[in-house]
């Protein structure tokens, strides 16, 4: 009898559980996303978590402006930081906003997996749709030739970011940043000696950013980490001599010069934090990282400097990447239509339309937010320069402290990130970078050899 009772209980519980799951899943295919007033709710990426109040105010002002022009859309901002470790779960769990941001390197696979909404028809409604740089638009285009992810926010080339105040303290001229890797090393040593506890130079090493920045350093010395032939077969080349050289350089700075400080576990967010706090004097990262360091880490613009990445050897190039805006697969047409209006308003329209460019710059400067941070053009160089001309009265970033970068940004050879299993390959390189930073006897060629074998196994997987 006891078991009969238990069976009944379980049946009832099971039935209830099924009803509950049925209830929760029915939300996905709801007929409409509009609320009682007929307004569509659009959840969009806003700022990095922990942003300064002024940045939030500026964003809210832009949302208000958008909602006034689009009274049928209710924009709900959600703070967001793309992280390799949380993105897949957020996407699978359906907790990403309706408009979210992804790196160039992820788009093709997400499209092939059917995880992004087809935004081709929506993109074509934009008057400037055919003016995007084709190479950049291609990053978000699927095998079927349709655009799923739209170039947005930024296209960056990696630059060398440095603290002018720490340069001065070490007796270095902040207007003459280093132009070769040997000069970077020498400057780092001087800075570390003059400012105990400060890292003269440091490189990211955690959460796949170690691999990302090692790739930057390898490209800058003429190396490559992966080669893809005409049939799409990828070969891993992590043991490239330029990569060995980049690691040896890092090793010598750590163990001979002791100029890398004392924290060797940093990623994109924490190195920004350390730089803004004056614990790191030089590091390499996307040219646009200034904006987020001001918005999130309270960086003082006075002390900031941006230099071109030193390039040495044949075939040396600057790693370039960027961000696309996407909508989750399964989004309704209403959401997709609302999304393109937001993408046009917030990301792209201001690059090609004078009124919008000025309005956007006005809102940002009114809230003390950076305007004019150097990025690579999403359309073409002429368009970029035209845009800079429109907003020149509002530019408030210290451009004269970035001339070493901006003077050459259109002339440097750009190299895209490795295209196959990018994040997984980066993940294999993290421990290699960390080993070099924490083990004086690290056998660099052997470490790279092991990582290369593992990477090739990954590339050979279906």
């Amino acid at each position: 009898m006891k078991s009969a009772r238990r069976a009944t209980a379980l049946t009832v519980a099971g039935a209830l559980a099924l009803t509950l799951t049925a209830c929760t899943s029915s939300g996905d295919d709801g007929a409409t996303d509009a609320d009682a007033d007929g307004r569509i709710t659009l959840r969009v990426v806003s700022l990095l978590p922990g942003s300064e109040q002024a940045a939030i105010d500026a964003f809210d002002a832009q949302v208000a402006e958008f909602e006034e022009a689009n009274p049928d859309i209710d924009v709900v901002p959600e703070e967001y930081e793309w992280k390799a470790t949380t993105f897949a779960a957020q996407l699978a769990g359906g907790t990403l906003p309706d408009v979210f941001e992804i790196p160039f390197t992820d788009a093709k696979t997400l499209i092939a997996n059917g995880q992004l909404a087809d935004m081709d028809a929506q993109l074509r409604t934009l008057p400037y749709a055919d003016r995007f740089n084709p190479a950049i638009l291609d990053a978000g285009t699927g095998e079927d030739g349709k655009v799923y992810a739209i170039p947005a926010k930024n296209v960056y080339g990696v630059g060398l970011h440095y603290r002018r105040d720490l340069f001065e303290k070490a007796g270095l001229d902040p207007d003459q940043p280093p132009t070769t890797w040997d000069e970077v090393r020498a400057a780092a040593k001087k800075i570390a000696d003059a400012n105990p506890g400060v890292a003269g130079y440091m490189q990211m090493s955690q959460n796949n950013t170690g691999g990302w920045q090692l790739t930057v350093n390898s490209y800058a010395r003429g190396g490559r980490v992966q080669e893809v032939d005409g049939d799409g077969r990828a070969t891993s080349t992590l043991d490239d001599p330029a990569t060995v050289e980049a690691l040896q350089w890092l090793h010598d700075m750590r163990w001979e010069d002791d100029s890398l400080g004392s924290n060797y576990l940093l990623d994109w967010g924490t190195i920004n934090e350390a730089f803004a706090a004056g614990q790191v004097a030089m590091f390499t990262s996307g040219s646009d990282v200034y904006t987020s360091m001001v918005q999130t880490n309270g960086l003082d613009p006075e002390v900031y400097g941006l230099a071109a990445l030193p390039l040495e050897g044949d075939d040396a190039g600057v790693l370039t990447g960027g961000t696309l805006a996407a909508v989750p697969a399964g989004a309704s047409e209403e959401i997709k239509d609302a999304a393109i209006r937001w993408i046009d308003f917030f990301y792209t329209g201001k690059l090609v339309d004078e009124d919008r460019a000025v309005a956007d710059a006005k809102t940002l400067t009114a809230n003390d937010q950076p305007v004019g941070t150097p990025v690579l053009p999403m359309f073409d160089q002429a368009q970029y320069e035209q845009n800079q001309e429109w907003i020149k009265d509002y530019i408030n970033v210290p451009l004269d402290q970035m001339t070493s970068y901006t003077d050459s940004m259109f002339d440097l050879p750009l190299v895209g990130e490795p295209s196959v299993k990018t994040q997984e390959v980066y993940a294999l390189l993290d421990p290699v970078v960390q080993a070099v930073l924490t083990d004086e006897g690290a056998d660099i060629p052997a470490l790279l050899e092991t990582a290369n074998t593992q990477a090739q196994a990954l590339l050979d997987q279906e």
């Binding site: 209980a9 779960a89 790196p103 992820d106 924290n263 083990d439």
Partner: protein, 319 residues
């Protein structure tokens, strides 16, 4: 005590006996208030079912599948288990986890016992000491880790390095070196976890009959002999339980390596659970959930076997 058992059974109990003898049908079950039982039981069943048992069943199924949680899953047999067993990081993770467990046993296991015995010996401010010992447990783990990260600053001006510098020690690299990272994690974990165990020991110490101490004192035992010959034998049941709990807990250590080092430097603090996490979440293009659940299952089986073996071996001692 005996008078109670010889008293006639109360009416309710008698009714129960009668009911147990009668043939039970759904009708009698209904009349006997079975529906009420069910109604009261339902919330628990639903919550446990949905949030505990269902995920366990799902992960069991998933360990034999390849899925990105979006497109339909494919059955892949034992491929996930093969993948995990062929991963060179598995050996590293197992070795690191055992190393953590051993260090935690050496450093973390005796500390709460020592603290509890000392605290039970003091006569004044006992409450204050218990509160102080328990305080770290109350601090949210993320806050505690951030705090310890500041303490562990590897520069000569870091908190620990400054303090140790006063007595001529250091500076130590703490989390920034492959050999010192793991002991640093154990130290922080011990600080954070000892309070709970101290409270368990303190409660157990209260149950030690004071006559035993009196007798030991009459026999001329000092404090250490009392601890060795009275306290420890009296506590052995609790000690065995806390030991197995600690081993199971340390085998599943995740929070400290995840928040302090992310498994670094150079995989020196990658533990089994962190490896599971990496399988599932490291790749932004959809994790290897199959491998993650396969390794989880393997860990669960190993721990279950260990627990069974442990209880079998210690049955005779802990009675």
């Amino acid at each position: 005590m005996t008078t109670v058992s010889t008293r006639p059974a109360p009416p309710a109990a008698r009714a129960a006996v009668v009911r147990r003898r009668a043939r039970r049908t759904p009708a009698t079950w209904w009349r006997g208030g079975g529906a009420h039982t069910l109604v009261f039981l339902l919330p628990v069943l639903v919550i446990f079912g949905l949030f505990s048992w269902w995920p366990i069943v799902r992960s069991l199924v998933m360990s034999f599948q390849k899925t990105n949680l979006v497109t339909p899953a494919q059955w892949v047999g034992l491929a996930n288990f093969e993948y995990v067993l062929h991963d060179p990081l598995l050996a590293v993770a197992v070795k690191n986890t055992l190393w953590f467990a051993l260090l935690a046993l050496v450093i973390g296991y005796p500390v709460p016992l020592l603290a509890a015995v000392l605290m039970s010996e003091v006569r004044r401010l006992k409450g204050l000491y218990s509160a102080l010992a328990y305080l770290p447990v109350v601090v949210p783990p993320v806050v505690a880790v951030l705090l310890w990260k500041v303490f562990y600053d590897a520069s000569p001006t870091g908190v620990f390095n400054t303090v140790l510098g006063w007595v001529g020690l250091g500076p130590f690299p703490w989390l920034q070196d492959q050999s010192t990272a793991m002991p640093s994690l154990v130290l922080a974990a011990t600080w954070a976890g000892a309070g709970g165990t101290v409270i368990i020991y303190l409660a157990a110490l209260l149950s030690v009959p004071p006559e035993l101490y009196d007798a030991a004192e009459v026999d001329g035992a000092g404090i250490w002999r009392k601890v060795w010959h009275v306290t420890l034998p009296q506590l052995r049941g609790v000690l065995f339980i806390t030991l197995i709990l600690q081993v199971i807990g340390t085998a599943q250590v995740f929070l400290e390596p995840y928040l302090f080092t992310g498994g670094g430097p150079a995989n020196s603090t990658v533990t089994v659970l962190l490896l599971i996490y990496r399988y599932a979440f490291e790749n932004s293009l959809g994790g290897n959930y199959g491998a993650a659940t396969a390794l989880s299952l393997m860990l669960a089986v190993v721990l279950a076997l260990f627990s069974a073996l442990y209880f079998r071996l210690t049955r005779s001692w802990s009675a």
